[in-house]
């Protein structure tokens, strides 16, 4: 099973869309609220080199923003 992390904020529409896409496809993921969790925020900035959300990490590969094509490719859907 692939390790999937989502760095998100509670108010971000694209974060919700990302998580719904993962749930609809029965993909387990770890969700980090970068508004509340400072360590997660710093980790997201260090890994992605930027401050926008969502950031999605799949087996060490990073994408910024909701990109259905990238998610499908990385998850083999």
């Amino acid at each position: 099973m692939k390790a999937v992390k989502v760095y998100s904020t509670p108010t971000c529409p694209w974060c919700k869309k990302t998580k719904k896409f993962l749930e609809d496809n029965s993909i387990a993921y770890q969700d980090f609220d970068v508004g509340a969790d400072k360590a997660a925020r710093e980790e997201m900035v260090r890994k992605s080199g930027q401050m926008g959300v969502p950031v999605i990490e799949i087996d060490g590969d990073i994408v910024v923003g909701y990109d259905e094509g990238w998610l499908k490719q990385k998850l083999g859907l």
Binding site: T9, P10, T11, C12, P13, W14, C15, K16, K17, K20, D33, V34, G35, A36, K38, R41, V45, G49, Q50, M51, G52, V53, V64, Y66, D67, E68, G69
Partner: protein, 285 residues
């Protein structure tokens, strides 16, 4: 609309996006007292998927040209689609400040979506640029999150009085009306902005880690500008039937000169454009 599949209507877009997806609270769409923007967009998407429409996402249209009595649409990825009628419903995008380092620091402290990225700036000093309702709403969001908020507006604040009264009571807000934003500072991430007081001509720097640009929207009309008339705002000029003046080429929603940029208006305009395009195709036989 590839020629070999011309019987199936096709919709091509970057994503099922649009401004509603950036809107947390929709309270003026008929049938809903309250609905979140993404949920409303999801309902639109589900409804479209009930019909045999070939939907293309992950690519964006970059140009439309006339071709063999119809049109050819080219995309960012080099695909081409041909059709006898086209509806342009490309909406608007945030207007950039056009100041030094904006492009380089985009996403690195500069954001155009307070609702998305606001919580990332928890406990930081930030600047909101703009003086209208969008800027005031971003300010209202950020005074609850940030250590301090500077609201920097080129003009006196132009938003609703109720919104102005609501935010101006905040102890962690400094309103800098009639100030021009000259540049954004920072190497890898935003470290501040430089502003100029239009009355005194005095320049100063503000130390901020985030900049929220809320100075309005510009229409995504570039793809059709050689074919259609644009108004001074860059919006595609249409008549009440969503016709652009080029037979077979229609436009609807925020990209057009139709007054009032609201979801309910855009949805109605989209319906009108679809019906007009349908009639146009029937007339062609």
């Amino acid at each position: 609309m590839p020629p070999e599949r011309s019987s199936i209507p096709c919709s091509s877009a970057k994503t099922w996006e649009g401004k509603p997806n950036w809107t947390a609270r929709v309270e003026n769409y008929m049938g809903y007292q309250f609905i979140e923007g993404p949920e409303l967009m999801q309902k639109f998407e589900q409804q479209v998927k009930q019909f045999p429409i070939e939907v293309k996402t992950g690519d964006g249209a970059v140009s439309i040209s006339r071709q063999d009595g119809g049109f050819e649409v080219r995309t960012e990825k080099g695909e081409t689609y041909r059709g006898r009628a086209v509806i342009i419903a490309t909406g608007k995008r945030p207007r950039p400040l056009n100041v030094p380092r904006e492009e380089r620091l985009r996403g690195r402290g500069i954001t155009y979506c307070a609702i998305c990225d606001g919580p990332v700036f928890q406990g930081m000093k930030v600047a909101v640029i703009g003086g209208g309702n969008s800027a005031l709403e971003a300010t209202d969001d950020m005074i609850k999150i940030a250590e301090h908020v500077y609201l920097v507006s080129l003009t006196p604040l132009t938003g609703d009085r109720t919104l102005i009264d609501k935010v101006k009571r905040a102890a962690n807000l400094t309103i800098l009306a009639e100030h021009e934003t000259l540049e954004i500072m920072g190497d890898n991430f935003v470290s501040g902005i430089r502003i100029r007081d239009l009355k005194s001509d005095e320049e100063r720097s503000l130390e901020v880690g985030g900049v929220f640009v809320e100075i309005g929207l510009i229409p995504n009309s570039e793809l059709a500008k050689v074919l259609v008339s644009l108004n001074r705002l860059g919006e595609i000029e249409v008549n009440c039937g969503c016709e652009t003046g080029v037979p077979g080429l229609f436009a609807a929603g925020d990209v057009t000169n139709v007054p009032e940029k609201q979801i309910v208006v855009a949805a109605g305009e989209g319906a009108k454009a679809a019906l007009q395009a349908h009639r146009y195709l029937q007339r062609l036989g």
